[in-house]
Symmetry: D2
Subunit: 358 residues, 4 copies
Amino acid sequence: MSHNSFGHLFRFTTWGESHGPALGAVVDGCPPGLVLSEADIQPFLDKRRPGTSRFTTQRQEPDAVEILSGVHEGRTTGTPISLMIRNVDQRSKDYSEVAVKYRPGHADYAYDAKYGFRDPRGGGRSSARETAARVAAGAVARVVLGPGVSISACLVELGGDAIDRANFDVAEIGRNPFFCPDAKAAARWEAALDAARKSGSSLGAVVEVVANGVPAGWGAPIYHKLDGQLAAAMMSINAVKGVEIGDGFGAAKLRGEENADAMRPGPDGRPMFLANHAGGVAGGISTGQPVVVRLALKPTSSILTPVQTVTQGGEAAEIVTKGRHDPCVGIRAAPVAEAMMALVLADAMLMHRGQTGR
Amino acid sequence: MSHNSFGHLFRFTTWGESHGPALGAVVDGCPPGLVLSEADIQPFLDKRRPGTSRFTTQRQEPDAVEILSGVHEGRTTGTPISLMIRNVDQRSKDYSEVAVKYRPGHADYAYDAKYGFRDPRGGGRSSARETAARVAAGAVARVVLGPGVSISACLVELGGDAIDRANFDVAEIGRNPFFCPDAKAAARWEAALDAARKSGSSLGAVVEVVANGVPAGWGAPIYHKLDGQLAAAMMSINAVKGVEIGDGFGAAKLRGEENADAMRPGPDGRPMFLANHAGGVAGGISTGQPVVVRLALKPTSSILTPVQTVTQGGEAAEIVTKGRHDPCVGIRAAPVAEAMMALVLADAMLMHRGQTGR
Amino acid sequence: MSHNSFGHLFRFTTWGESHGPALGAVVDGCPPGLVLSEADIQPFLDKRRPGTSRFTTQRQEPDAVEILSGVHEGRTTGTPISLMIRNVDQRSKDYSEVAVKYRPGHADYAYDAKYGFRDPRGGGRSSARETAARVAAGAVARVVLGPGVSISACLVELGGDAIDRANFDVAEIGRNPFFCPDAKAAARWEAALDAARKSGSSLGAVVEVVANGVPAGWGAPIYHKLDGQLAAAMMSINAVKGVEIGDGFGAAKLRGEENADAMRPGPDGRPMFLANHAGGVAGGISTGQPVVVRLALKPTSSILTPVQTVTQGGEAAEIVTKGRHDPCVGIRAAPVAEAMMALVLADAMLMHRGQTGR
Amino acid sequence: MSHNSFGHLFRFTTWGESHGPALGAVVDGCPPGLVLSEADIQPFLDKRRPGTSRFTTQRQEPDAVEILSGVHEGRTTGTPISLMIRNVDQRSKDYSEVAVKYRPGHADYAYDAKYGFRDPRGGGRSSARETAARVAAGAVARVVLGPGVSISACLVELGGDAIDRANFDVAEIGRNPFFCPDAKAAARWEAALDAARKSGSSLGAVVEVVANGVPAGWGAPIYHKLDGQLAAAMMSINAVKGVEIGDGFGAAKLRGEENADAMRPGPDGRPMFLANHAGGVAGGISTGQPVVVRLALKPTSSILTPVQTVTQGGEAAEIVTKGRHDPCVGIRAAPVAEAMMALVLADAMLMHRGQTGR
């Protein structure tokens, strides 16, 4: 119900704005007795942290997380875990222009229409800085899931230029600033994004996130389908305009016999699938195959190219969005998508255990 | 939290299986004093009803709705509205084969993995018959929204063959059995679907649902974004594998200046947008533009073509799914997608009014 | 969130009015594989059923329950269980007086103030007939809890006349029409209630409900305390004006050393308590002792004694409430309180299992 | 669903332990545009603050609140309001005894049974320090309610000694350290509590909280009754063992005609009630009369009198609870009960507005 909470039995609530003193997450319903410290969380924040290459915003934020509650002598107590990240590089700039002119593609006008009022500094609550809080919460979710479940995201398209699946190399993902698994694509993207950035433009991207090790049986029919929860989770990430599971929109082009993942007896006695068009979810419940989700991110609207707009007073105007912005918000969305996958799965795990005792 | 409920302030719960005595929905939180009778609901059920052309299942169900509570002297009382639809054409057939062999592409295996047990008759709870209940609930949501909001769905792709947007004619949607707005495409689809049906196969589809008249300000940031709610709602429909808002995956291919919907002062004093790449939602809040959602549906897995599978006991097997099935489940998903759009919007309307008093 | 739902992981929703065609409950989140049929539910409805003595309303309702979904071959499938009870004895009487005159002590005026509109027939949704639905749901909750947990309610006070604890005899509860464990008190109550009934008045009561066999660890701190859930559950029963746990208001008169339940090593190795002032709950979590709750019920306001009131139009008036009413609504509240105890405990059991795996 | 959240449309989540670095609340769903600063919150925290008389714990905590988000230029933005209070006087003492011996009357054993693990420092999460967070949240709720609703709590019984209603003087409440409206009772309580304190014991209390100015129509039938929400809210306060509305347990001793609050046409055209046995709630909906709730608090179990107990290892032991404790926790519960009343009412106000538009 709560606008800023996500999840059910394992649930988190985030708070904070781009230019406030801090932002954070409260994680509720965490199982007790798990080993947890800031060191389990910080690496994931570092992966999402801005300012690490010329392809992300130059805002310098250490994004150092503090655990304020819910952990005693290094173990979770089962009570709420409050995570806080201080903002340190809120540059003092003049926000008077964006306060009165709506930036097309941003939430400025929608916020004013809803609330009659808005914090214009750095986008306020609509800033992607909020995603730091969920990356922190997502790290807790990974601890809940344990080592049996591994989650990894990468970019499979940037500026309309897709990777070649034949070149897919997991090891390559960490070697370039794009979380790109195809070294050749990464080289092309570097040139394309440099060009876009220099021309005052921006590019979109498609992120793919895969969870391995999810057992069959998580999720639930109808309105708590695992894929329904994943769709809501991914669509909540800034700039996401589309979500697909498994073959997704491609499945709509297949014939029934092509799309049905045939099954065979597996070596361990459990069924083995000969394909994974379904992306690891059938009827809203995990099948034991890898859970595969892709999300489409629009190009950031914060660009130096002038765009026609109107003012709060209804006058025609033109706006150029200066400041420090990501030329492709899709890049830093990869660790955020991993976090959301972990958060959905941890909740599904506890919900399944609660209902079935398994 | 509840697996079979959807929505917050305006909320509904569905129940029932394909082959049980009845199915239904309980609609809670409906505003009081609205004029409502079965006649407001039945037309939407008729639109979704099976057996109306050779392109849908031949199961004959009148899908006649009964209002069992929440309405007094023709007006809603503000208390729960119980809607019931009796199943009348549960054909007595032998389900012993599907009870022991998993149908690839269906939820059979996932249900067994989760619950250790399953109702195999007609897919049980995973049957698309459940969508009748939400179409009934959706009709109530339309009454809540009032005549200012209009919602319409159509198929824009079938079997990988997309419509030509230049031929888009709203009036055409009701003239063919495909909810297709392009008469030429409808003719091609007829041939393609007949061929698929005769060869024991099935086809996928893409449905587009548009809501006009939604004021700016509905929805809420972060985890109750209007697009996040829509994504969860649409992904809960049987066979849906992808959801996109506005340009969706296409937005990932645009440059920043192409994607930002420029604004101008409108004739009525309110801002006017020069494009709607955003699909009527920015920062999770409606902008006053049409809300545009597309969903990808996989081809039904209930086909006559034999597929490799395993039995509950782990033996290799082959299965052919006989019975009465839709050769393209995407067709009847159009009225279901309209219902889910209405249900999400009605909830967003009441939530917005609750928080802001507007 | 939903006004007519209760519970979290194990959750139910009720619908229906006093004079509609039927009423019911949808139970969601039930564990799969449990043996369940109407025969498991009916005895509890029979216990609550009206018309069984001269001390309850003379309305004749068989309260026969139908299971419409969620059960296959006699076992729960894990999907929603729809329970329906048809109303058969809605006497056709003239409701024009109560439609325009507010009955003091009833919800008539409050409903009109909230909804601007109301179903006056038999109290509409505010009728205690709604409690039949939860008694049905409660029977499912008992199946979830299993035979290890036993729940029993009795009246410990009627018309201000309390039982003598020295006479407490569990076997006596079923022998008199008052669920009274003290035979001597039952005799006094018979006389008192006959007198009240004949003079056109009504009496209040205090119900005590005890759950034995609840293991230590159910419930959760702060806003999901077991006693907080029980308080909400009991206060939701018609006519309840007070709820207490363990010594309740009596605990406020004790000194610290009197109230603290001393502990000793128990014969089974687990701690044994020397008293149960706490009523089986500490810090919102069960201690393994019996869970003890008492609820105070006001006398019904539906009496033949004339009371001053006003009309919908604001005129002064006088009203006498004819019709078939319970002279002491507290009596039939006993099986309802048992049901609510079972429903709270079943949810707590699943929630605890979900979070901790125990 | 979440264990540490309360409310629906207006919702708050608390976090923090007695001896952690800080505690706090995240308030979600607050209407936008309200004037809010720390100065609106601090007075309520000061009222609850420990160490202000010899009748409360001597722990010195300034309980200074910081607003970390959700407010821009002195007005609420509609986004989550994060409130933080740092702990400054966590005295470094040895908790090794309470870590291994269960304190009877405390949650120690129940926490261990649930989580298998517990933060023993100052009671960890079960400490009444958590209530500071809700008092802060409650101050925001008062701003939402506006000046039309006023909420006031007082003690009406301490150590079993009740006030004389004839002496009730609102002005007296702030003049003594007991929030006592009867000057004579306050004098008696001072002597009684001094004696209890010196003898190493503690006393219970009954708190009464009244909300004036609540319009008719807030709350909702069945499982979201206003009194049901209030019961859950009050029972969530540490040491509360009973809750009653209006005449509460006293209503169970009245006859029907005594208990029904007669109505007359009021001077302003709206109905006027001649009594308020109902405590301002009928059928779960406010009637426009003052909302009256009482809560019973047990004596604190943290006493110097030795009590029999067991150790974690199951050995018989004896325990004396040293440290700084309130000899009557009921005193500081008065401002907490006011906060919970405000929080329930603010949520009910927004929910009512959402459903009905009023």
